[in-house]
């Protein structure tokens, strides 16, 4: 591991919306291709940020979660380490192409997966308040489209009619439906559904063959984004982060269910890197999870639902590698409700910064139109300046 040039901890003052703009367009609507691409990896189940990026410099870490902390973590600086499953991510950090934002969360503290998942995708002020997603609204404002690598159209991308999805099929006795058949059937449907059905016709013409694992889908997404007329956003889901039991293997915190899933995330990021090619330079990849997990282990070598977690960021649009955190500490009285990592950074601000950087929208517009919160703090400079 090369020596990294990271601050011990980059402190971030998360105040009111910053007045400072960083040379990006101030208008809400971009013309033509925006400055970059935004790619979201949804980590379903609630990812344990304290295991993915363990705060090894925190004096309380080993006394509280020795059993959950990987032995072979890669040191990032004298305070934070990186889970050994995140090998490619570690290389990116060494090259200044990856960052982490720690002790962060959407402002949701009730620990329900399904409320939390709805909130982090919908980006509204409360669970189930939105019928569209924050990324969908961002793309609608920017007038550009995104693609989900899934069978369904996830909430996060709803809200812009040009957004589409892609997921390879394998059905014996069937072929890719012919475009004219699809178009004729679409004509029999109501107009909003017909619009969706006609996207099938577009795909029929493209005739793409892609394996179905998340890393291959990420590579495909990267390639699509690299094309001149391709989408500028993508969404991939990685499941099974709900590590109530056997989060780590007995006696080996380097392996276990979490280690396996983090390796998938690492492969997805690597897949994006390969697929994006030169488009990597203006891309951002960010993870999104509904909550972190309890600071202490539960009775079944796992962790229960918590609050603060970590966000992993990668892409050439990052100017340098940082661990951005306003570290709350792990002592009992530092914990949220005496059980969870406190969140000191609103992750909506991180999403807003990524939208600002890649879609060229103004922060105040993002805050008010996308997240319905005009005073959402701007953290752009901590990540992108």
């Amino acid at each position: 591991m090369p020596k990294l040039n990271l601050d011990r901890r980059s402190l971030l003052k998360a105040g009111a919306a910053s007045l400072f703009m960083s040379g990006l367009p101030v208008s809400g609507f971009t013309q033509g291709k925006p400055p970059g691409s935004i790619n979201v990896i949804i980590l379903e189940g609630g990812m344990d940020g304290l295991a993915a990026v363990p705060p090894i410099g925190d004096p309380d870490l080993m006394s509280i979660r020795r059993v959950l902390t990987p032995d072979s973590y890669q040191p990032l600086n004298d305070f934070f380490g990186l889970h050994p499953s995140l090998k490619f991510f570690a290389q990116l950090m060494a090259r200044g192409h990856a960052s982490a934002v720690h002790a962060t969360s959407f402002p949701y503290t009730k620990r329900s997966h399904f409320e939390g998942q709805n909130l982090i995708q919908g980006g509204g002020l409360s669970p189930f308040s939105e019928t569209s997603g924050w990324l969908g609204r961002a793309l609608e404002l920017a007038g550009v489209s995104g693609r989900s690598l899934s069978l369904d159209m996830p909430l996060i991308l709803r809200g812009h009619k040009d957004n589409d999805n892609f997921y390879p099929a394998s059905i014996r006795g069937s072929k890719q439906p012919a475009a004219d058949l699809v178009q004729l059937i679409a004509m029999g449907h109501a107009s909003d559904n017909a619009q969706v059905i006609n996207q099938v016709a577009k795909k029929s013409e493209a005739n793409i063959k892609v394996p179905r694992d998340p890393a291959s889908l990420a590579k495909y997404a990267g390639k699509a984004i690299a094309q001149a007329d391709g989408p500028v956003a993508s969404v991939i889901l990685v499941n099974s982060f709900d590590t109530h039991a056997s989060q780590v293997d007995d006696g080996d915190a380097d392996s276990g269910r979490l280690a396996t899933q983090l390796a998938v995330v690492d492969d997805v990021i690597s897949g994006y890197r390969q697929g994006l090619g030169d488009a990597w330079d203006d891309a951002i990849i960010l993870t999104l999870t509904e909550f972190g997990r309890t600071v202490a282990a539960n009775g079944t070598t796992g962790t229960d639902h918590g609050y603060g977690s970590v966000g992993l960021l990668a892409g050439g649009s990052l100017p340098a590698s940082r661990v951005v955190a306003d570290w709350p500490g792990l002592g009992k009285r530092d914990q949220f409700e005496k059980r969870d990592l406190m969140a000191t950074i609103d992750y909506r601000s991180v999403c807003a910064a990524c939208v600002e950087r890649t879609l060229g929208l103004d922060h105040d517009l993002i805050a008010s139109q996308i997240f319905h919160q005009a005073d959402l703090p701007r953290v752009y400079d901590a990540i992108f300046a």
Partner: protein, 483 residues
């Protein structure tokens, strides 16, 4: 669409291509709730429908023994012992001891060949409400939970169903409860004396019991309530592969559906949402009975039933009517279901069909043979996909790895280009490989397809296959638009 088919589409699985039509539809729906529910299926693709053989429907003790055997042979495979270390032995072990393929095929056969279509729709609703995802270690239990925990209890009280499913080994395994021990239990005390032992609470099932299975977050419970529910649950369930002698020692019996490990229980009474729950095994029944008649449970599940069967946005009058029946009958499911179905018939609104429901309806209407017989459940076919694969491609299966909140009733979750493409492809595959027994025009005449649907089919030209695909993917047959 004729009224009889509109009702069957909304509340059932459609009348099979050769089935006689009932005269009194409203009466038929009510009779359906009382129908016998034998597992009907086919032995092979050329045979006629009959009841599934008993030996393919093992009880829990047998299922547990199979799981135990599976794990033993797998261990031998890992250690390279007893000639188990080869692909043939690995496959033989799966076929002999894992029940996923068998159970899933039986569920499909019920839905394709069963004469109890309305009950099966209700069974799907509740199997989804009480989702037991496939975490592999639940392989041998999901089918049993659906048969004995849901279908067998459809006409009882909600309290019985809630208690039954909460204590079913499938649920206790899926949501990690089999490993959860009270923090002050005998087990935890023993463990604390050793360094290689972890024992303590796991709140997974306690949380979902409140959030998903009963009162929902609208009830405003807090973290202490969840923790207390987990304490009530501590001790329930045991590893499905545990040997019989040890199970007897830990639970005092050999019944997996009533397995309570006293030494793992949390001593003392608990309070959940203001309700005092006594210590010991009987505490759980006290808790589920309290939850089953809680006003928030009634509101949450009555609304969910209305949204599943009546319309995407049921009126408050409709929901109130179902809630009132729930209160008046102390949660009698037969009465509740009767009310929901009456309202579904009375409402002109359409419901966009779930992919699996749509697939069953397409197969029944056309008389296709799209699934293998039980004798063929492990065979490869050039034409017919394995059941598991069909549902994986369709994006919906009760045997998939999935989250405990189950599948949504929101049409937005099911409308995307890829989702629609799958329906086109399956209609195509059913026509190509499923030996359909009725022509598209015959099917349209029988169901009374509306003029828009006929026009759509006509626009496809002369290809019988394209006409079939167009009919099955029309707004009318997908439950998207009114006739």
């Amino acid at each position: 669409m004729h009224e009889s088919f509109r009702i069957a589409q909304k509340t059932g699985l459609m009348f099979r291509y050769d089935q006689a039509m009932p005269e009194d539809m409203q009466g038929w729906v009510v009779q359906q709730l009382q129908a016998e529910s034998p597992a009907i299926g086919i032995a092979n693709i050329y045979s006629t429908a009959e009841e599934w053989p008993a030996e393919l429907q093992p009880n829990l003790a047998k299922r547990s023994a199979m799981w135990r055997q599976f794990r033993q042979l797998k261990k031998q495979q890992r250690e390279g012992k007893n000639g188990q270390d080869n692909e043939a032995a690995v496959q033989a072990n799966r076929k002999a001891n894992l029940l996923r393929d068998t159970d899933e095929l039986k569920f499909v056969h019920r839905n394709v060949y069963g004469a109890d279509q309305v009950k099966l729709r209700l069974a799907a609703f509740w199997a989804n409400h009480f989702t037991i995802g496939n975490t592999f270690d639940t392989s041998n239990m999901i089918g049993h939970a659906i048969d004995e925990g849901i279908i067998a209890k459809l006409n009882g009280s909600f309290a019985d169903m809630l208690y039954g499913i909460t204590t079913h080994p499938g649920m206790l395994t899926y949501l990690d409860n089999v490993w959860s021990a009270g923090e002050r239990s005998e087990k935890a005390k023993d463990c604390n004396r050793r360094i290689d032992c972890h024992a303590g609470l796991n709140d997974n099932l306690g949380r979902e019991l409140l959030e998903l299975h009963s009162v929902s977050p609208a009830a405003g419970y807090n973290e202490d309530d969840i923790h207390s529910a987990a304490k009530v649950l501590a001790g329930w369930g045991i590893d499905f592969g545990e040997d019989v002698a040890r199970m007897r020692k830990l639970t005092g019996g050999n019944n997996h559906w009533d397995a309570y490990k006293k030494r793992w229980q949390e001593p003392g009474s608990k309070t959940v949402m203001g309700k005092r729950i006594y210590a010991g095994k009987k505490g759980l029944r006290q808790l589920t009975d309290f939850l089953a008649l809680h006003e928030h449970t009634i509101d949450y599940i009555a609304t969910k039933l209305c949204r599943h069967f009546i319309s995407n946005q049921p009126s408050s009058e409709e929901v109130q009517a179902v809630k009132q029946v729930w209160r008046d009958t102390n949660g009698d499911l037969l009465a509740i279901h009767t009310k929901v179905l009456d309202l579904a018939i009375a409402s002109p609104e359409v419901k966009f069909l779930w992919p699996m429901t749509w697939l069953f309806q397409v197969v029944r209407l056309s008389g296709a043979t799209f699934f293998q017989g039980w004798e063929q459940r492990h065979d490869y076919s050039n034409d017919l996909m394995r059941t598991q694969k069909v549902f994986k491609e369709l994006g919906q299966s009760f045997w998939s790895e999935r989250q405990p909140n189950g599948y949504s009733d929101d049409p937005a979750e099911w409308m995307s280009a890829e989702m629609f493409e799958r329906r086109l492809r399956f209609a195509h595959a059913i026509y190509e490989n499923g030996r359909v027994r009725r022509s598209t025009s015959k099917i349209m005449d029988r169901i009374g397809a509306n003029p828009a649907t006929r026009q759509l089919v006509a626009s496809l030209g002369m290809s019988p296959r394209d006409q079939f695909v167009a009919l099955m993917c029309s707004p009318e047959l997908m439950g998207l638009e009114n006739a």
